[in-house]
Structure formats: structure tokens, C-alpha cells
Amino acid sequence: MKRTVTLARLPRRTVLRGAGGIAISLPFLEAMLPRMASAAPAVKRFVFFYFSNGVNPTVWHPTAAPGPIGTLPETLSPLEPLKDKLVILSGVNMQSARENPGNGHNVGMTNILTGRKFLFETNTEFGAKGWGAGITIDQEIASRIGAGTPYGSLQFGVQTLRSYGANAYSYISYSGPSKPIPCEDSPQKMFTKLFTTIGSGSGDAQARLDKRKSVLDFVAEDFRQVNAKVGAGDKAKLDAHLTALRDIESRLSFVGQAGPACTKPVLTFPRDHNTSSAFPAVGKLQMDMLAMAFACDLTRVATLQWSSGQSGTTHSWAGVNEAHHGLSHKTDAASVILLQKVQQWYMTQLAYLGGAMALKDSNGASVLDNSVVLASSEIGVGPTHTFLNMPYVMLGGAGGAIKTNRFLKYTNATHNDLFVSIMNAMGIPATSFGDPKYSRGPLAGLVG
């Protein structure tokens, strides 16, 4: 491979990075791959796949006994091609949410990845509201396994702010109490961030990096000086800001363990990612980029958030012309069938993501096999807002840590402990997550 030989002379870091984005030459530089790729251990990855407004439990949860997955329940049928990568969980509750009075959707969104009751803000027509009260599982995992990649985590969004704007219905990820992490809803911007080559030569790229480093040093000193003059609460805010800034800048020179499938995706973007009809196309773009970001090892943790809690999306492309939340509250037979169509559409998307993650990872296994993709909603069931028996499904085996093609049945397990298990599967020796009140240790039999 002549091309490989030529490119092998390039210093890796001058190619695989750039200001504000990662420069990936095309065709992708196989020369930069680890020589002993197949012998390398799995690079583990985590995705949370969020969809809104709960499910219809009678056509979601398997009725069969635990064990290998038999016939998939109707809603999950789109996952049939990925059955051997699938784990279905039942009996896992969001116990923290159950004990958190307030609007069901807001409670769900703030509890879904924190495992904590929200921080009460105000009462509203439909119940109390609040912001998430602690770090979310995606961020916790990112802090443990995300070092060394250009991005600690990525938040892919599909019209997440369209229904409710910047309030607590619209976020699942938090870096800490009342610190929501916004999704990037624009696939175009995500693409620019991840894959745009800037600078024509390595000299340019080096100068850009050096300039950014100088600016960072200057700004960091400003932060230090201001920090010395303000009170404790303000210091924490400044520290978080500077930490984020340092993290962004330092990661610019990082090169992950890109796999052989890493290429710059060729994508076409809709003119306006927030028009209702663009919803499925935006989702597909985000999933393509998510899979490629993993294959290129740009990050190891991602969330994909479809709309927001209490979503008002109208899924006309799925043959449903009624807004999601209103529909989710109806109990007549015709509405129930329409709602199932919506839920099935989301499972079709999950299957698409699983398929996109078939890309080869650096150890030769598929990205999906090295990952855990956990999917769920902010509530269990539309009309009741229950947090019992949440609709958890998982794709991928975390590099062999989780045996797949299984239906696991628990009794009153907590989602905190599900997260403990997932951390363990990621190689993180945790025994508790979120509010310790709801955490007793890993779920029996999930990992190992």
C-alpha cells in the first residue's frame, strides 16, 4: 500500500486535529492505526438513546420466561435483526422518580440519568418542576473512560428544544446539580465540530494550535485572578468554566484509537433542522455521525435525545398525524394503535443506530459489540406517568462483558443499580450511583 507508506511519515497529531474540529484526511489514514489492531483490547463505549412519552407495556415487555429472547414483543419487532445483540430488561423502576413529587415528564427527565430526585424550583399547573440534582451516568462514565479522546462526550439532539425551549423538560444530561448539558440539535454544526478539515497544511494547523494554547494560557490567568476575588459559589462556576475550557483545548491534540472504518462521512443536511418534517432526516444524520465518531474514537460516550420530555412531535412520516404527548394520554383502541406506531418507529431508529454501529472498531470487533446502547423513556406509560417497570432495552455487549440475546426479569430493581452494572461492564469498579438511597449494588446476572 503505497499510500500508507507515504502518509506514515506524517506526525499523527498534525493530521487528526484542527481548531474547532478534527481534521481527517480522505481516504482515512490507515497508517495511523495501531499496528497490532486486532490484539488491542476493546475500547468500550456507552450510548443512551432517549425517546419521549413512555410505551404501551402490554406490547413492549416480553411475556415469556427469562432467558434467550424468543419472539419479540410487537413494539420491539424492528430489533429482530439485532436480536443476538439485544438485552431486554423488565422490573427495573426509576425509584427516585417515584418518590419525587412533581410533573411526571419533568421528574422523569431529571431522574432518568441522575438517579436522584430533582432540585425543586417551582409549582406549575401540572405539578412541581425542577432541575436535575447531580451528575448523570453518561457524564460519570465519560469522566472515567473518556480521557484521551478529542471529546469527553457528545450530545446528539433531534429537535430537543422545539417543544419546551431551554427548561428542564429538554435535557437528560447533567454535569452536576442544576448543570444541564445541551444537545447539539444541528447536524451541520455537529459535522463541522467533528469532521471538518480546517487549515490546508500541517504548518497552519500547528500555528492554530499554538495560538489557541497562548490564548488559553492568558485566559486561564484571568480566571485565576478573578477567582481570587469572588465568593465560594462564584468560584465554583468559574472553576467549572475553566475546566471546560482546558478540557476542550487540551483535547484538540488528542488522537483516539481510530478504527479501520473511520472515514469522514459524506452527508447532506436539511436547510432547517428544526422544521417538523426534518425530524427523521436529522435523526439519521445524528446516528450516522454518532457511529462514525465512535469508529474514529473521537469520543467514547454519547447521548441521542429525540425531542424532549412530554414531546409534542407529530410523527406524520410514521403515519401518525397527532402530536405525541396528547396521543400518549389517550386510551381508546385507535389511539393506542397509533401510539404503538410511534414507539415502533423509535425502535426502528434504534435498530438503525445498531446497524450503523456495525463499523469495525480498533480491535477488529464491531463498534456495537464494544458498546452498550441503553434505550429508555422518561416515563413508563403515557396516561399514568408510572416509573415502575421502565422500558429498558440494551444493544451491544460492552466488549464481551455483557452476554446478549437475553431477557432479564427483575423485581423492583432500581435504575441506579442498572447504571452500576453498566459502569461495571465498562470496567469501572462502582458499587453505587446517584442517590445512594436507591443504590444497592449491581443487578444480579447482568454483567459477566
Binding site: 425551549g165 427548561n167 465568593g231 476542550i248 402530536a323 399514568t384
Partner: protein, 587 residues
């Protein structure tokens, strides 16, 4: 400042201070006497330190003496914790426009993640988290803006390198740009450090790139992104700290304009002319006269009155039920309310009473027919139009308000009642249990909306909460889900009798929304609530028990001006919460 421009404020200004020392500091920078100078350091509980005088500088306002309650509450000098505030997206946008003269097209503010809201306001410091996305956005914006700014290099620098040489020009740029970007004069050590940075970059990349680097760096500095307040610490003063005059200037400017101070305000701070409460009020009043203030007032009103939802794509109506709700009509409703609010706030009588009981609106032909009134002759022009007496009055019967606070296919007594309770009365109903099925009753033949929603009251559990707001919401039943007047609902006569249960001063039955509006316009509860809403917006935080003095002052001033909402904005600058930095505790 002339006597003429000072005088209106004098009628308003609370004489928080005895003018001791005001003359002495005149002309000096950052050492001016601040309003409330009597309010010395306090003990941990807010009581005066031994040997200190209690807060007794209250001199009354426009001949109206402070209420005994204010005198009492302000004996203990205190205010809630004042967290450091970050520029909101809007403030960033406005500030960049002022600082760099960059037009909207290139403005990055809107591309930042939206600012989270608390109590409906998007400037709450408690959730101004520096997320990775935001910090990354600041970096991208700073680089883009700096690249644009250096295209107009001589104008940006304010000096000519050919005439003065690079180094003196760089130094003067650092001082002048630094002062505007950080909204205060830079001390020499800061200027030296910035120059060292510049010189390093100059050696590597040349003059132009070094200036670009300088701007890039300063736009990412906490001194630019945050409103850093250090105050002027005084020995023995540990809790309430006087702000510097430049910090006061920023507080006024970001309150009235949501932007950086203009040259006049900068100069006033430089000269120590923000030393007294009168001077502060005079500046606030001057700035309220600018069109920039209109945008701020509209921002507040939209968030306070939940009017943003009219633009929200999530707000949809069932067009089978409401065929009149076309995109054009939606736009007309929005225009009507924004013109009305601007007229109220910047017209002859900006009072609470005008807001709630005005007998006019601003309509085009289509809206006039919707309201069954006459005047406008085209859809293109909105003109002041009389409302049908007894059926419409003020904001609360406008189509936009009624549309936003309604369901897709029916009115919503709950939404309308809760709005009155929370936004107008600052009363928060207790939360329903979280397992309650929150599906609203669907439209059913043979029933009125009122009858369906009254079923809440049949459930003893739901009744406790719903009795607080449903009976208020029922008084809006003459208006359907887009605000059309109706005498009958689903074929049955509308019963618009409403009832307020608490507080006692308002308790009782009344007939229809117009009577409710009148009732609200003279209610002490509402008169106390409006200043509270403005306080949240102005201070970027919720009120706390420690703000009792400030809120009481606002209440007195609001009352003393005949419940003038425009003057209330100036009054906000006259409180301890506004003029002091409070360090006690954590946010």
C-alpha cells in the same frame, strides 16, 4: 447633567442616603459614596455591628414617607446573596454589537445553547452553567469575531500605527478596549500583562495577528463573559459590600438595556457621578428613554406574561375547531399585544391599571372584526382601537393571552387560573401528586368546559388545589381557546362567575374576566407581585427573606408613583439588593 434631566428622578428617588461625603468623592474614581452609605457592616444575623448606626437614611420619596414597615424592615441591613452573573445570549449579542459594532448577521449569541429559565426568566444566575457546549461556543465566537474585527483595524484600534508606532498604539488599544470589554478601567498591572501577551504574539505572528489574538483572548476572559463584582471592601464590612461605580453602571445598563454601559454612563462612573441614589436613578431614567429600553421591557413582559408561547412551534390549535387560527392571525395577535404593551409602558400612563383595564387595544382590520369593534381599515396598519365595553379590557382579554393559555381544542380554566395565581398574584399552588393522570377532560357533547373542569372539585384530593385556581379560570369562559367571545359553550349558556379564595383581601365572587381585571388592578397582592417579578428579572435570582427591605422599598415606590410600572424599573435601582454585593452564604 442638567437640572432638567435630574428633576424627574428626584420626584422618584428614595433618599436612601444622607449625602454625607458625596461632595468629597466627587471626581474621584471608584471611591464615590454609594447610596445607603449609612448601611455599614453587619453582624452575621444582619443586625448592626456594635457602634454602627442602623439603616436610618430613608428619607422618603416625592414627599411620600416610607411606610412604617419599610422603616422597620430596613433597620436590619440585608439583601439576598448576589451571585455572579454571566451574560445571557441576548446580553452577549447586545454587548458585542456595542463593543465591536458587529451586525446581527455575524453575531454568534443566538448560536450558543439557550439560557435556562427559572420562574420563566432566562437570566437566572443559579442555572447559568458553563457547559462544554457554551464554553466551546464562546471560543468559536471569539475567534470569529476577532477575525471580523481586525478587518476594520484603524477604527478598532483608535490609533494609527504609521503615525504613533505599533507599541504606543497597542498600549492605547489595550487600555481603551480593555475598559470597554471589562466594563471598568484596567489597573496598570493588568495592562502590563495584556501587553506582554500582545508582545509575545507580535513577535511570532506580526502586528495584525497579535491584535486578533488579543481580542480573541479578551472575549473569552471571565472579565468579559461574567459580570464580575468585587465591590469596594471596607474594613469591618463582611456581608454587604458597596459596589464600585463601574459595577453599578453595569448593573444599571444590563437592567435597562441588557447591554454594556454607553459612553455617557461610563463617563459618569469614571467621574464618580454614580455616587448617590439620585444620580443612579437619573441615569436609569435617561436610559429608559432610549429605544434600547423598549427591547428589555418587551423581554420582561414576554417572560412574565408567558407571551413567548405565541411564537412557539409547540403551540398548535386544532384547525377543525378553530379555523380562524391561521398563521396570519397568529402574527396579528402577537403584533397587537406587543404594540399594546409598548404603548402601556412607554405611553402617558404606564400603570398596572392601564395594563389590566385599558379600554383600547391596537388592532388591524382582521382583529377589529374579531373583537367586534371598528376603527382599523386595513390589515397592514395597527391602530389604537376602542374595545367593546364590558366584554374586553386590558391584556387579559387579548387574543394572544387567551390563545396561549388554552388547549388545542378548548379553553383552559386551569391554565388561565394558574397564570393569574402565579404570575399576577405570585402565589404558587401546591403540587399535585406525581401519579395523577394529568390528561385534561376532552371535549364532550352536552357539556360546557366549565362543567367538565368542575369535576376536579368532585374529587376531594384534587379539589384542595383546583379550588384555588379553577374558579378564577372559569371567569374567562366567555373566551374560547383562541379568545373569541362566546355567550354559549357547546350550546349551553356560559357561566362566567369567578371566585378568588385567597388571599382574604381579594376573596369573593365576581362576574367575568373584565371584573377580574379591575379587581386585580387594585389588589394589594398584585401590587406586591409586580415588583417581585421585576426584582427576579433585575437581580437574576429569586427573592429571599433577606430581601424584605428591598421589596418593601419597591412596594412603597410603586405605590407612591400610582403603580407606575415604568418608574418601577428606576425604583429597582434604589434598593440595597441592587446597590450592594452580598457575599453571605452560597447561592
Amino acid at each position: 447633567m442638567t437640572e432638567d434631566t435630574m428633576s424627574p428622578s428626584r420626584t422618584l428617588t428614595l433618599l436612601l442616603v444622607v449625602l454625607r461625603g458625596a461632595a468629597a468623592c466627587s471626581g474621584s474614581i471608584e471611591t464615590g459614596m454609594m447610596p445607603g452609605d449609612e448601611m455599614k457592616g453587619t453582624g452575621g444575623d444582619g443586625s448592626p455591628l456594635p457602634g454602627e448606626k442602623p439603616f436610618d437614611g430613608f428619607g422618603g420619596m416625592g414627599g411620600v414617607p416610607p411606610s412604617p414597615m419599610t422603616v422597620d424592615l430596613c433597620k436590619k441591613q440585608s439583601a439576598g446573596f448576589s451571585p455572579m452573573r454571566r451574560l445571557t445570549r441576548l446580553e452577549y449579542t447586545n454587548t458585542i454589537r456595542e463593543l465591536l459594532g458587529v451586525t446581527d448577521v455575524q453575531n454568534p449569541g443566538p448560536s450558543f445553547p439557550p439560557d435556562a429559565q427559572v420562574h420563566g426568566f432566562d437570566n437566572a444566575a443559579s442555572v447559568q452553567t458553563p457547559s462544554q457546549a457554551l464554553v466551546s461556543g464562546y471560543g468559536d465566537a471569539a475567534r470569529d469575531l476577532a477575525a471580523i474585527a481586525i478587518l476594520t483595524m484603524p477604527k478598532l484600534l483608535g490609533c494609527d500605527t504609521a503615525a504613533t508606532g505599533e507599541e504606543p498604539c497597542a498600549k492605547s488599544f489595550i487600555a481603551s478596549f480593555g475598559r470597554r470589554a471589562y466594563r471598568r478601567p484596567l489597573v496598570q498591572a493588568e495592562q502590563d500583562r495584556i501587553f506582554t501577551f500582545y508582545a509575545g504574539q507580535r513577535a511570532k505572528y506580526g502586528f495584525t495577528a497579535a491584535i486578533e489574538q488579543l481580542v480573541t483572548a479578551m472575549l473569552q476572559s471571565p472579565n468579559f463573559i461574567y459580570r464580575v463584582e468585587v465591590g469596594t471592601p471596607t474594613a469591618g464590612q463582611t456581608d454587604m459590600i458597596k459596589l464600585t461605580q463601574h459595577e453599578v453602571a453595569s448593573r444599571i445598563s444590563y437592567l435597562v438595556w441588557e447591554s454594556m454601559p454607553d459612553p455617557t454612563l461610563f463617563t459618569a462612573a469614571d467621574r464618580g457621578e454614580l455616587a448617590t441614589s439620585q444620580q443612579v436613578a437619573a441615569q436609569a431614567e435617561r436610559m429608559l428613554g432610549s429605544t434600547k429600553a423598549k427591547a428589555t421591557v418587551a423581554h420582561f413582559n414576554n417572560e412574565w406574561l408567558h407571551l413567548e408561547a405565541i411564537d412557539d412551534p409547540a403551540l398548535t390549535k386544532d384547525t377543525r375547531v378553530y379555523p380562524a387560527f391561521t398563521p396570519a392571525m397568529r402574527g396579528f395577535m402577537k403584533t397587537e399585544t406587543s404594540k399594546f404593551l409598548e404603548d402601556v409602558m412607554f405611553g402617558a400612563s404606564p400603570t398596572l391599571s392601564t395594563l389590566l383595564t385599558a379600554d383600547y387595544t391596537f388592532a388591524n382590520l382582521r382583529l377589529a372584526s374579531f373583537y367586534k369593534t371598528t376603527g382599523p381599515t386595513t390589515d397592514a396598519a395597527f391602530v389604537k382601537t376602542p374595545l367593546p365595553a364590558g366584554k374586553r379590557a386590558g391584556l387579559l382579554t387579548q387574543a394572544s393571552f387567551l390563545t396561549v393559555n388554552a388547549k388545542e381544542d378548548q379553553s383552559s380554566p386551569i391554565a388561565r387560573g394558574v397564570f393569574i395565581l402565579e404570575q399576577m398574584m405570585c402565589t404558587e399552588p401546591p403540587a399535585p401528586p406525581n401519579d395523577v393522570n394529568v390528561i385534561p377532560p376532552t371535549v364532550q357533547p352536552g357539556t360546557t368546559t366549565r362543567q367538565r373542569f368542575e369535576m376536579h372539585a368532585a374529587n376531594p384530593c384534587a379539589a384542595a388545589c383546583h379550588m384555588l385556581f379553577d374558579p378564577i379560570g372559569f371567569s374567562f369562559e366567555n373566551y374560547d381557546g383562541i379568545g373569541t367571545w362566546r355567550d354559549r359553550d357547546n350550546g349551553f349558556p356560559v357561566n362566567p362567575v369567578g371566585e378568588v379564595k385567597i388571599p382574604e383581601e381579594m376573596a369573593g365572587k365576581y362576574n367575568g374576566a373584565v371584573e377580574l381585571a379591575t379587581k386585580l388592578s387594585t389588589s394589594e397582592t398584585v401590587r406586591a407581585c409586580v415588583p417581585k417579578q421585576w426584582f427576579r428579572f433585575a437581580q437574576g435570582r429569586s427573592e429571599t427573606a433577606a430581601d424584605a427591605c428591598s421589596l418593601s422599598i419597591l412596594g412603597d415606590l410603586f405605590k407612591g408613583t400610582g403603580y407606575n410600572m415604568k418608574k418601577l424599573i428606576v425604583a429597582l435601582t434604589q434598593t440595597p439588593a441592587f446597590l450592594y454585593k452580598t457575599t453571605g452564604g452560597t447561592p
